[in-house]
Amino acid sequence: MGLVKQKTARNTMDWEYFEVFAREEADGPLFHLGSVSAPNKPAAVGQARMVYSEKPWVEMCICPRAEVTPVISVNDMIGIA
C-alpha cells in the first residue's frame, strides 16, 4: 500500500480558527482546551472531537475565533485605543 503522493498545495492561512471548549462533568466548568484550524465547520468539528479526546467529556463545543468578542486583551488597549 503506497502513500498518497499527489497533494495539491493549499493556502492554510485562509483557514478559519475555531476555539474548542469542553465540560468534564455536567455541573462542572467549561474549559478552554485549545484550537483547531480547518477549512469549514464540519472539518473543524471532526478535528476537535478527534484531537481533544483525552477525556470522556460530557459536552464539547467549538466557536469561530472571529466570533469571540474580546473583553480584556493582550493585543488591544480596549476602551483606550
Binding site: 502513500l3 499527489q6 495539491t8 477549512p39 464540519p42 473543524a44 471532526g46 478527534m50
Partner: protein, 285 residues
C-alpha cells in the same frame, strides 16, 4: 462446541464490519502524514485509533463467544480469511480518491453495523451505540474535507466514485437475500434499509462536494453483485488483501515486529494460534 446458524451468520457479519474497519484504520495510519495541518494529522491518527479499537473490540467479543483464544482473529488468520470491503484493497491514488473511498466506507460500515442498534443482542447493541458516537465524527471530518476540495481534487473524487463506488455499494449484497439475523431479531433494520440509508448519506454529501446530480451519484452506486459473489464475506470469491497491505497490518519483518512490542502477542510469539483443529468449529474463513 457447536455454533448455531444465527451465531454463525452474526460472526460473519461482524467480521465484515471489523475487518473493513481494520483495513480502513491502516489506511488512516498510512495517510496520516498527508494531513494539511497538525490538528488534521492528529485527527487522522485519532480516526485510525478508533477504527483499530473498534476492530479489536469486535474481535474480543467474537473470541469470547466462540471460545477462541485471545488474539486468534487478529493474528491467527491468513489474508484469504478476511471479510474486508474490496474497494479498500487498492491503495488511494490521490487525496480526492482517499476522501471519497474513506467516506463511502465509513457510511457503509456505520449503516450496516447500526442494523444491530435496537436488536435483541444487548451487548452488541451497546457496542454499536458507543461506536456510532465516534464514527459520526469520522464521517463529519471527511465530509468537511470533501466540501473544501479544490477543482482538481473534485475531479479526482468523481473518478474515485466511478471506480470504487460500485464496489462499496455492492457490499450490502443482493436485494431480497434471506437474512436469519433479521428473522431472529438480532438486527431490527433490514440490510435493504441499511443500503437505502447509505445511499442517502452518500448522495447528500457527494452532490454538495461535487457538481454531480443525485441521479448521477446513484448511477455510480448500483445494487449489483457479480456471479462469484461470496455472501458471507460480502466480496468477490477469492478476493484477498494485497500482500503489501497485509504485511503492513500483520508485519513479519523482524525489525517491525520488534517495534510492536511490548504488545502482548505477535505472530512470532503465538504461531500455534494458526490453523489449529480445535478452533475449526468457528470456521471463520
Amino acid at each position: 462446541m457447536s455454533v448455531s446458524g444465527t451465531d454463525k451468520a452474526l460472526m460473519q457479519e461482524l467480521l465484515c464490519v471489523a475487518d473493513t474497519d481494520w483495513v480502513l484504520g491502516h489506511w488512516y495510519i498510512k495517510v496520516m502524514l498527508n494531513g494539511r495541518s497538525l490538528p488534521d494529522c492528529t485527527a487522522f491518527a485519532g480516526m485510525g485509533q478508533d477504527s483499530l479499537g473498534h476492530t479489536r473490540a469486535i474481535f474480543r467479543l467474537l473470541e469470547d463467544r466462540l471460545q477462541l483464544p485471545e488474539h486468534q482473529l487478529e493474528f491467527g488468520r491468513q489474508p484469504e480469511a478476511l471479510h474486508d470491503l474490496e474497494a479498500l484493497s487498492r491503495p488511494p491514488q490521490n487525496w480526492g480518491d482517499f476522501l471519497m473511498t474513506a467516506f463511502l466506507t465509513e457510511c457503509a460500515v456505520w449503516r450496516l453495523f447500526s442494523t444491530f442498534l435496537d436488536g435483541a443482542d444487548k451487548e452488541l447493541a451497546g457496542m454499536v451505540k458507543h461506536f456510532g458516537k465516534e464514527l459520526y465524527f469520522h464521517r463529519l471530518g471527511l465530509e468537511g474535507w470533501m466540501l473544501a476540495a479544490s477543482d482538481e481534487e473534485c475531479a479526482d473524487m468523481k473518478q474515485s466514485l466511478a471506480e470504487r463506488g460500485a464496489e462499496v455499494a455492492r457490499w450490502f449484497g443482493a436485494e431480497g437475500a434471506p437474512d436469519v439475523l433479521l428473522e431472529s431479531g438480532v438486527r431490527t433494520t433490514s440490510v435493504a434499509d441499511a443500503r437505502a440509508g447509505f445511499l442517502e448519506d452518500a448522495v447528500s454529501v457527494i452532490t454538495q462536494a461535487t457538481n454531480l446530480s443525485e441521479a448521477e451519484v446513484l448511477g455510480y452506486l448500483p445494487c449489483e453483485t457479480p456471479e462469484d459473489w461470496d455472501t458471507a464475506k460480502r466480496k468477490t470469491a477469492g478476493a484477498t488483501v494485497p500482500a503489501s497491505l497485509w504485511e503492513f497490518m500483520i508485519p513479519t519483518d523482524p525489525d517491525t515486529v520488534a517495534l510492536r512490542r511490548p504488545l502482548a502477542v505477535s505472530v512470532d510469539d503465538n504461531l500455534d494460534l494458526v490453523d489449529r483443529s480445535e478452533y475449526a468449529h468457528a470456521d471463520y474463513a
